[in-house]
């Protein structure tokens, strides 16, 4: 049972702040590692998405973000010449919360992975 006084820590320590560049690098690393040379397969992609999101989440979690709630969104789509437009909008505290995003593309698919980090006060 959660007892104890309320903490009023409303800003993360600088080292533990959500740094988009760092997280982006994580994403890039993982996505590149997992998707290079992969062809789009509609049966496998949902599972792939899930596992990608999980591994990104784990990675970012281990990155020492303090009190951050993470939302990882991974979108994989086939590239067949269609136009795709993705955008996000957040209601959050811009001082602490941030997001990182990376796009991976090869000949037949694209993968957008976005990590939203929201500071849990």
């Amino acid at each position: 049972m959660m007892q104890g006084s309320n903490t009023y820590l409303i800003r993360p320590n600088h080292q533990h702040k959500f740094k988009p560049a760092v997280v982006k690098e994580y994403i890039r690393e993982i996505v590149r590692d997992r998707l290079s040379g992969v062809r789009y397969n509609p049966e496998e992609v949902p599972e792939l998405c899930r596992s990608l999101a999980d591994s990104i989440k784990d990675k970012v979690k281990n990155a020492g973000l303090d009190r951050y709630k993470l939302v990882v969104q991974v979108v994989i789509g086939e590239q067949r010449g269609q136009g795709v437009k993705m955008s996000s909008r957040c209601l959050w505290d811009a001082d602490t919360d941030n997001y990182a995003e990376d796009v991976f593309m090869n000949e037949n698919m694209f993968c957008v992975a976005a990590v939203f980090g929201s500071y849990y006060y």
Binding site: N6, Y8, V84, M86, R89, Y99, E107, A114
Partner: protein, 1164 residues
């Protein structure tokens, strides 16, 4: 069906309430629930549906209830408290008591049910209490009842029917209820049977049907009541009684109307309750009787059932018949119970009367009863409540049963045993109770709804008649029907409930009477039941959790009912949940507090919409290229025939190489090839070229030699002939040679100068002055200089042209390859005679082609700062010591000097006395495009002049004399051949100044006339002796000639007036004899002096009048074995004659030196 009805708000929530209560019943009564669950399992979807709705309705209902009826709420809260307080103790107590009372162990399970109903029961009781108080004011009515009862007693025998109808309707119900109580107990006993027995759906349907009939019957009964009453009146009743009935009828009608208003209803109920409570007491005493009666009832019921089966085929009969039959049935029933009733009534009346006598007594009694009942009631409340409904229903159901069974449902029942059927009926009844139970409460609370339900009642009944045939009729309708039913019987309920407590006891006693056989049976049933319950319990628990969880929050409001329910299911779970809820609430509030505090500090804002991915659509072509142009696919092309192009080379390959040619072919070959050196074939060509080069060089020199030889030969022959002819003219001449000056460009030009090279003594140049006469060649304003080889007199070697007048000129030291000239415009120019003829302008005159050479270098304007500002009067090569010392033989070919490059100084003197020194520089390579730094250098020229130094020679000379004689002019420049630092300048003052190039003082400063003094006489000529280099001759404009020694100011000798006053033009030493010199004066007299022969006069004087001689130059080579010496004479006509001296003038003798020595000794 349900949806067909237009449901008012009341309609919708009332059935909901019903359902809720059903559920409560179900939850409370484990067994019942099991049964109902089983029903659900068997596929009754209706119940499930309704149960789902139930929750919503329940919520709604709670709200409504709270809002609409504050009183009830208050009451409830009170009751709840009481109930909760008492419950535990009561429960335990109840259990013990029950165990004692009920031999069957399963009765304990009812405890829960009782507890549930306790609340309700207490409600009623409290209400009763209140009502009782009110009752006192209604003695009249009671008395009326009492009167009625008295009357009944009197007319018992006669008017049994009427009694039944009016008053005993209640009693009958009670009876039936009692029976049903028994049935309930029996139910438990026979659960096994029941379980096996039935398809519950059918039962339900049947029950519904029956209920519809109830409803119908109720309506009918209402009518019947009136009818019957009237009928009874007509038939049997006396007027009085009729009156009474009518009164009562009216009263009832009034009451019915009043029912809409709660108070009235309550009053009525209270009345009845009062009555029944009294009766209860009575009944306690009559328990034994009742036991018997119960048994009898059972038998009756069986009979009835049997009877029911019989009339099952009579469905199609008219309603009237049904009514009649119904009445008949009822009648029979009543008759059956008549004995009991009578006993009861007598007792009742006995009791009632004293009770009525004093209200205070009654109250006391009631209080007492209340207390007692509380215990009992609380124990049995639920049971009783249920039973109340059973009781309520019983009369209806009994009466209806006959009708129902006649109908279609009978068919199913037919094959079953009577007993089973009765049990089934009981179950049905119980179910109805359950359904009705909540309804009643609701009705109590919301009176206004009743009116609505009443209005809807009429059309419902009509619908229901139709429905009766439909076995699958929906439950909600029946529920509505129940409302009606309840509504009608509202007054009766309370009474019945009051009676129940006693009945309960009776039931337990009845159980004791069960036969041993029965007991055994029951035990078996129990075992089976327990098994079944366990099974169902697990199934239920599996099934229910979701619902439970949903429900829990609602229960958690703390209502006793719910708590009790949950506690029945699992006490600690409930507490844990409650505790958990508390904790959650606490945490939630904490968090909420924190969040509110934090929210002030935090600004939430919308982030700018960030684009995660923007992939533009690819057009078709790009798509194609992407898919088929690159990876993953291979593009295989098939070539059709039409494009099957084949490229073939049909000719031999052409060999290409680079060649060049040049015109004119000045270089080694006419054509060249950059790759020659690599090519052996070309190398031979190169060798050939090399050979040809040498050949050319050889040929050049050889041809020159040959030409010279040929010309010499020719000249000799000519000269011999000429000499023969001319001997008379020139005494000194041994022979003469005429240079071919009859050239078109030389036509009409006079020769101002003739000059021989000091090294190449056969090379001569003649300066032809510009002419004013028109000529074929446009060189009018130009000075033409011809370079001659005197051995080749036919034509000049080179032709040099210059735009202005040339005043002086000289050859380069050594080989005559350079020509220097000073011009009247103050420039010094030079010609490089080695330059290729192709680089110069050529003109073709007649058959001959002539190359006119422009100067290679000119100081014109280019060196204005350092050049001469006035006419250059004299140009002399500064002799170097070596050059001076050397007297090389005349080389035909290029000397070393030439190859090593030129390096000597040139001095130029202008009129104003400025002496400039130039360094002659030969560039290692000619630049065809011209030099950008040396603008005076002709393109392709290799030799140029660099200004070295400048001296002003006149100042020293003229300072003194300038005032007398005007400006001093310097006219002649000569260098001391042995020492180039000393120069001698002839002036227009008749003196020759002596200077050194380094500014050193040289003595004597001047060489003057013998007499001294300065005379304005030009020094026209200065000539150093080639043999004695310190001797020089000066020829002056006044005709005087002086012979000077360098070291003395005074002349050695001076000859005046020898020329008859004619200015001396030129004085020149002969090249082969040291004592011979030639003088030419302006009068064209040519004098030859031979000092050895004559010191005072010339030995030869020739007057040339025919063609005046304008210029003269001596030539000769002393060192050669074939010594020759002569003089070149330039005539006015432009003719150049070369006269060879006679032998006496050319052959030197040793006496000459001695003579000269003598002369010098004589002079100094």
């Amino acid at each position: 069906m349900h949806s067909d009805k237009k449901l008012t708000k009341e309609d919708t929530w009332r059935p909901a309430d019903l359902r809720r209560y059903i559920r409560e019943e179900e939850r409370g009564d484990f067994r019942k629930r099991d049964e109902s669950e089983r029903k659900h399992h068997r596929g009754d979807s209706i119940e499930k549906r309704t149960r789902d709705q139930e929750k919503e309705y329940r919520r709604e209902k709670d709200n409504i209830r709270e809002r609409t009826d504050e009183n009830v709420k208050d009451r409830y809260s009170e009751r709840r408290k009481e109930g909760s307080r008492d419950r535990r103790e009561e429960r335990d107590k109840d259990r013990e008591k029950r165990r004692e009372r009920d031999r069957q162990g399963d009765v304990n399970k009812y405890v829960d049910d009782y507890r549930e109903n306790k609340d309700r029961r207490r409600d009623r009781e409290e209400r009763h209490d209140r009502e009782r108080d009110k009752e006192r004011s209604r003695d009249k009515e009671k008395e009326r009842v009492r009167d009625r009862e008295k009357y009944y007693e009197e007319e018992k025998g006669r008017r049994r029917e009427e009694r039944d109808k009016e008053r005993s309707r209640d009693k009958e119900k009670e009876r039936v209820r009692e029976k049903e109580k028994y049935y309930d107990e029996e139910k438990d006993r026979r659960r096994e049977e029941r379980d096996k027995e039935r398809s519950r759906d059918k039962e339900k349907e049947r029950a519904r049907e029956r209920e519809k009939y109830y409803d119908e019957e109720k309506d009918r009964r209402r009518e019947e009541r009136d009818k019957e009453r009237s009928r009874d009146k007509e038939r049997e009743r006396a007027r009085e009684r009729e009156k009474y009935y009518e009164e009562e009828k009216d009263r009832r009608r009034e009451e019915r109307d009043k029912e809409k208003s709660r108070d009235k209803e309550k009053e009525r109920v209270r009345e009845k309750e009062k009555y029944y409570e009294e009766e209860k007491d009575r009944r306690r005493e009559e328990r034994d009787k009742e036991r018997r009666r119960e048994e009898r009832d059972r038998e009756h019921r069986n009979e009835r059932e049997r009877r029911r089966n019989e009339p099952s085929g009579e469905e199609g009969r008219d309603r009237i018949e049904k009514y009649e039959r119904n009445q008949r049935d009822r009648h029979q029933e009543r008759e059956r119970h008549k004995d009991e009733y009578e006993v009861k009534r007598s007792e009742k009346e006995r009791r009632e009367r004293p009770a009525d006598r004093t209200h205070s007594e009654l109250n006391e009694e009631r209080d007492y009863r209340e207390e007692r009942r509380k215990d009992k009631d609380e124990r049995e409340r639920r049971h009783k409540d249920r039973r109340n409904y059973d009781d309520k229903q019983k009369p209806d159901s009994d009466s209806r049963e006959h009708q129902d069974l006649r109908k279609s449902s009978e068919e199913v029942l037919d094959h079953r045993s009577d007993r089973e059927r009765t049990e089934r009926d009981k179950y049905k009844d119980r179910r109805y109770q359950e359904e009705r139970d909540p309804e009643r409460n609701d009705r109590d609370k919301a009176k206004t709804k009743k009116s609505a339900s009443e209005t809807s009642h009429s059309h419902k009944t009509t619908i229901e008649t139709e429905i009766t045939s439909d076995q699958d009729a929906a439950e909600p309708e029946y529920e509505d029907d129940f409302e009606k039913l309840d509504y009608e019987e509202d007054f009766e309920e309370m009474d019945e409930s009051a009676n129940d407590s006693e009945e309960e006891r009776q039931l337990s006693e009845e159980k004791e009477e069960l036969s041993d056989k029965r007991r055994e049976e029951i035990k078996a049933i129990q075992r089976a039941m327990d098994e079944e319950n366990e099974r169902m319990g697990t199934a239920q628990s599996r099934q229910s959790p979701i619902r439970e969880e949903e429900d829990r929050p609602k229960w958690s409001r703390g209502s006793e009912k719910n708590q009790s329910k949950t506690s029945q299911r699992g006490k600690f779970i409930n507490f844990v949940a409650a505790k958990q809820r508390e904790i959650n609430k606490k945490v939630a509030t904490q968090q909420k507090k924190r969040s509110t505090e934090l929210l002030r500090l935090i600004d939430l804002d919308f982030s700018v919409t960030s684009s995660l991915l923007d992939l533009p659509p690819v057009n078709e072509y790009d798509m194609y290229i992407r898919n088929f142009g690159t990876a993953n696919t291979k593009q295989a092309y098939v070539q059709c025939n039409e494009d099957n192009a084949d490229r073939d080379i049909q000719t031999e390959e052409i060999e290409l190489c680079e060649k060049w040619t040049q015109h004119p072919p000045e270089h080694y070959g006419a054509c060249g090839d950059p790759n020659l050196t690599q090519d052996p074939q070309n190398r031979t060509v190169n060798e050939i070229n090399f050979d040809s080069k040498r050949l050319t060089a050889f040929l050049l020199s050889a041809s020159q030699v040959m030409v010279v030889l040929l010309e010499e030969d020719q000249a000799e022959r000519e000269s011999l002939r000429k000499l023969q002819s001319q001997t008379d003219t020139l005494s000194f001449s041994d022979g003469s040679l005429q240079l071919n000056t009859k050239l078109p460009f030389l036509y009409g030009r006079s020769i101002s100068l003739i000059h021989f090279s000091q090294v190449q003594r056969h090379t001569m140049m003649s300066v032809h002055k510009p002419t004013t006469k028109p000529s074929a060649v446009r060189l009018d304003s130009c000075t033409v200089i011809c370079i001659w080889n005197i051995w080749e007199p036919s034509k000049p070697q080179k032709i040099l042209v210059y735009e202005s007048e040339v005043l002086c000129c000289c050859f380069s030291p050594g080989k005559a390859i350079l020509v220097f000239a000073g011009t009247s415009v103050g420039s010094v120019v030079l010609w490089d005679l080695r330059e290729q003829a192709c680089n110069h302008y050529r003109i073709t005159i007649g058959e001959d082609e002539w190359t006119l050479r422009q100067p290679s270098f000119s100081t014109d304007a280019v060196m204005a700062g350092s050049g001469h500002l006035s006419s250059v009067t004299s140009v002399e090569v500064v002799p170097s010591a070596i050059a001076g010392g050397l007297r090389p033989e005349v080389p035909l070919l290029a000397s070393e000097e030439e190859s090593t490059g030129l390096s000597f100084q040139l001095a130029s003197l202008d009129e104003s006395g400025v002496l400039n020194f130039w360094v002659v520089v030969e560039l290692p390579k000619a630049n065809e495009s011209g030099s950008q730094t040396d603008l005076g250098l002709r393109p392709g020229g290799k030799v140029k002049l660099l200004h070295s130094s400048s001296l002003l020679t006149t100042e020293r000379v003229s300072q003194r004399e300038a005032t007398k004689t005007g400006p001093l002019q310097t006219l002649q420049l000569k260098f001391l051949p042995s020492d180039s630092n000393h120069f001698f300048i002839g002036t227009n003052m008749g003196i020759v100044s002596h200077g050194t190039s380094h500014g050193l003082r040289a003595l004597p400063k001047f060489y003057r006339f013998h007499e001294g003094g300065v005379r304005p006489v030009d020094v026209n000529s200065i000539s150093f002796s080639p043999f004695r280099q310190h001797l020089f001759l000066v020829g002056c404009g006044d005709g005087s000639i002086r012979l000077h020694v360098v070291s003395y100011e005074q002349p050695l000798t001076e000859w005046n007036n020898l020329t008859a006053g004619e200015p001396v033009v030129s004085v020149q030493w002969a090249q082969t004899r040291s004592t011979v010199f030639c003088v030419l004066d302006a009068a064209s007299n040519f004098h030859i002096w031979d000092l050895l022969k004559n010191e005072t006069e010339p030995v030869v004087t020739e007057r040339i009048n025919a063609d005046r001689v304008t210029a003269m130059a001596t030539f000769g080579d002393s060192g050669q074995q074939n010594t020759y010496s002569g003089v070149a004479l330039a005539h006015e006509s432009g003719k150049i004659e070369i006269q060879y001296f006679t032998k006496n003038l050319t052959v030197p003798s040793p006496a000459e030196d001695e003579k000269l020595e003598c002369l010098m000794k004589e002079a100094f």
